[in-house]
Amino acid sequence: MYLSGNLNTYLVVALFLLILGLYGMIQHRTFIGMLISTELILNGAGLNFMAFNRFLAPNPAVGQIFTLFIMGIAAAEAAIGVSVILAVYRRYQTSDPEKVDDLHG
């Protein structure tokens, strides 16, 4: 049994990407760290789509198109995220998420 011809291998790798992103999202105390964790999670989702596309899907173009769209969304999200970090830094003079708490009760 080859490792690269098995659906579960890819699913476990994608699962690992998801939990790494989750871990980084909770534990990091910086905006940039959260952005990086989001990219990891999105990549796990993309890998899942490609794996199902290769092994199970009736039409092999759909998964590739979906992964392309995920990449586009991720690029848009990174652009917005970076400019939000810049705007927060300009307004609060800090890049610590804990200190941006105007709406904190």
Binding site: F16, G24, I32, L40, I65, A75, A76, V82, L86
Partner: protein
């Protein structure tokens, strides 16, 4: 098993290791630049896995968009939003490490159990193929609306990013 299959499997394993250790570096390091480097390495590994999933085009797009564009954008974010001392020191304060580890391990176990109990059934018949012309054709016929929508989303995001980052008139960063 012939020799070239051994080499293929070894390369596959190397790509998985790239994903694992790149991801670990991305979330565990204290230095933000190293986190971006880990992210880039991890995304390169995922690009390698796309080759094995029968889509070299997606692998190239992954390298071009993620490693080439998104990582550079995050480096720009570090450049404009952080002072040099913060780049070194911030990253982990250790406050939430235990909670983060607990929740991610629980999610991991949950999904692993779900994965091991599921029996995947491949679809009975397949239409189309993995080739690039077929992909482009379905992008322009069947998924034309989604394709146009994602273009509009990207345009709006870029214009919004410029507006957000520029600030008020006459104000200098």
């Amino acid at each position: 098993m012939i020799l070239y299959q051994y080499i293929t499997e070894a390369l596959f394993f190397a790509f998985i290791l790239l994903v694992f250790f790149g991801g670990l570096l991305a979330v565990r390091t204290r230095i933000l630049m190293h986190a971006v480097l880990g992210l880039a390495v991890s995304l390169l590994g995922v690009a390698g896995l796309y080759f094995y999933l029968g889509s070299p085009f997606l692998a190239m797009m992954q390298i071009l968009i993620y490693v080439g564009a998104v990582c550079i954008m995050i480096v720009f974010g570090i450049m404009v939003g952080y002072t040099p001392s913060q780049v070194q020191r911030e990253g982990i304060t250790g406050k939430n490490t235990f909670l983060a580890m607990l929740s991610s391990i629980l999610v991991f176990l949950l999904l692993l159990v779900a994965l091991s109990r599921t029996i995947w059934v491949p679809s009975a018949s397949r239409i189309g193929d993995f080739t690039l012309p077929y992909l482009g054709e379905s992008l322009l016929y069947q998924y034309c609306l989604a394709f146009e929508l994602i273009s509009v989303v990207l345009l709006a995001a870029i214009v919004g990013a410029i507006v957000l980052a520029r600030g008020k008139k006459g104000e200098h960063f």
